[in-house]
Amino acid sequence: MLDATPKTTCDQKAPFDPREWLRLAAMPHFMCPGCGHGIALRALLAAVHDCGIAKDDLAVVCGIGCSGRVGGYIDANTMHTTHGRPLAFATGLKLARPDLTVVVVTGDGDCLAIGGNHLIHAARRNLDITCLMLNNEVYGMTGGQASPTTAATRVTSTTQSGAIEPTFDACALAAAAGAGFVGREVTRQAPALKTLIARALRHKGFAFVEVMSDCTEIYGRKNDLGEAPEMILSQKADMRPEQHRDAPDQPFRPNALPTGVFVERDLPEYGERLRAHAAAIRGEITP
């Protein structure tokens, strides 16, 4: 029978040392100078540590793209899957192995374009998976094409005179599809990001976290957004903290996105439901 109890734990009271969580043999990493994904990676590892999850019980499932490469640096059970499908792979893994903590690291193209269908169904199904979507507003790995979160007027290699498509609000999408936990944070606020991811990890059910990351080399340069420090600093201007999230859009800041936790609700977790349902079919318990 399937057992949802983790086999081991890590000492969450010991100080966090990222080197203990990284595959140092895989260094140097491939991320560009100034890329926000490293901040997200560190925040994820610190959050995992804070939650007392052991490396052996941690599975990180990634898709394709810059976000897809993040998992390979983590000293855990890591799976680099196919483009757009990490949530579907993770669904099988988590159902087969409820004892594992399953984290999906995906990107805006991976999760919202090619994998959009899997996101809405993972949110609806509510299996206990934590999904980190690293949103850098562009397909970085393939050379900077427009993604579903590329803001209007932005220049990319497929929108050379400026993007014209409306963007996805990934958090609103996940919430509407039924996710029990939805939040967003910027890499500029690394401690807040860590806290948000830790909350998502502790949430029982599908938890969606959008991480606003920066692509300096491919996206920033094409759009004159400055070097990495300028891009990180500008995140503040593009964001509305949680307490102001209901404030109306300001005309000079049309793309301002709220940050913080938007949804946190207890919903029946799919794995538990499925196992209880199976036990009832076997006549072990009364449904």
Binding site: T81, T82, A88, G92, L93, H277
Partner: protein
């Protein structure tokens, strides 16, 4: 104790999966395979397994691979259109060497085609459907009984070789009701996956002489990286030509090394056949009748029936075809397996297709007539 029972093909497939120790099924409804999912939705929880209906076929095979990487025997079932959607991830399963079984109940194609009509149009999709070169194993049962035994064998091969295995059969056998000898659970043998045992120096993709590497499970302390990128023995990506060459040749060679384990065929009056019929699945049953009829009237016809389609049992065929004056390949497509038979046999004796693409099975009379013509002219 063996039990004799009447089963539909798809029901037999579901029961065989459970008997083979399959404990994870993910699928998406599609005619004419849906009965497999329907049966397993109820049977899987009874044995402590998991059934999940996914949002599409891409997600279904992805979930199956995820469960396989988690350590379970896992399966999905579909038909042509769904099989097409699964191809990229089947290639991923082959690349990361995740055992899994894919049942493709073939219907008329291309596109939506004829969902309730039989065909044998996915033979080449099973072989070449995924991009790049990958190890391929596909089995083609011809009866409900054989769906049972070949589904079990599919799990055995998948687990033993750490590779996806496809079971191909058509709508007719899927929904045919036939008596099946269901063996006692203790008589069903599926070899255990080769697990990593914590030995020092172990690497996730360093293979033994059989070409198959021992596999780690999450939680066993190995903390492996699994990637569809071309990887070295360590599991981490590489583009170093000598390493890529070594890894890819080992991956593909796994099939050749284990041919004796994988190949399976049956013959009927083939040893002295002047016209050798090569047929599989439902078509082989018409061919069997044709051979009997022809022999009664003095025509030396014989049947070679591959049960393993890929890799094709080519040495066995080459030996028998070499004695024949002609080879006939009837199949319910525009001529797919015939290309492989022509590759194996060459120009002598001549290899002729007999095709049917109208959604009807090939009748014994059609085969009889084609053989008579070949017997006269060859």
């Amino acid at each position: 104790m063996t039990t004799l029972t009447a089963l539909h093909g798809n029901h037999a497939c579901a029961l065989a999966a459970i008997a083979a120790g399959c404990r994870f099924f993910a699928g998406y409804p599609i005619t004419p395979s849906s009965e497999i999912a329907e049966h397993l939705s109820h049977a899987m929880p009874k044995v402590g397994g998991t059934f999940v209906q996914m949002e599409d076929e891409i997600a279904s095979i992805a979930a199956v691979i995820g469960a396989s990487l988690g350590g379970l025997r896992a399966m999905t079932a579909t038909s042509g259109p769904g099989f097409s959607l699964m191809q990229e991830n089947i290639g991923y399963a082959a690349m990361v060497e995740a055992p899994c079984v894919i049942v493709d109940v073939m219907r008329g194609g291309p596109s939506t085609g004829m969902p309730t009509r039989p065909a044998q149009g996915d033979v080449m999709q099973a072989r070449f459907g995924s991009h790049g070169d990958r190890p391929v194993v596909a089995l083609a049962p011809a009866s409900v009984q054989e769906i049972y035994t070949e589904t079990i064998r599919a799990f055995d091969l998948a687990e033993r070789l750490r590779t996806p295995v496809t079971v191909l059969y058509d709508q007719v056998i899927a929904q045919l009701l036939e008596s099946v000898a269901v063996p006692a659970p203790s008589a069903v043998r599926v070899r255990e996956r080769k697990w990593a045992n914590g030995a020092s120096g172990w690497e996730p993709y360093a293979a033994d002489d059989d070409g198959v590497p021992a596999m780690a499970r999450p939680g066993d302390g190995h903390r492996v990286h699994t990637t569809g990128l071309t990887h070295a023995e360590s599991g981490f990506p590489t583009q170093a030509p000598p390493v890529v060459d070594r890894m890819m040749r080992r991956l593909l060679g796994k099939i050749d090394v284990n041919r004796a384990l994988i190949e399976k065929h049956e013959t009927l009056a083939a040893e002295d056949a002047e016209v050798l019929i090569v047929a599989y699945g439902i078509t082989a049953r018409a061919a069997r009748r044709a051979v009997t009829t022809l022999r009664e009237t003095g025509v030396k016809a014989g049947l070679f029936r591959p049960i393993t389609l890929w890799p094709f049992p080519e040495a066995a065929l080459a030996r028998l075809a070499g004695r024949a004056r002609a080879v006939l390949v009837p199949e319910m497509n525009a001529g797919q397996l015939v290309l492989e038979i022509q590759r194996i046999v060459g120009h002598t004796p001549p290899v002729r297709p007999l095709t049917r693409i109208d959604g009807e099975p090939i009748a014994p009379d059609e085969i009889t007539a084609a053989v008579r013509e070949l017997a006269v002219h060859a």
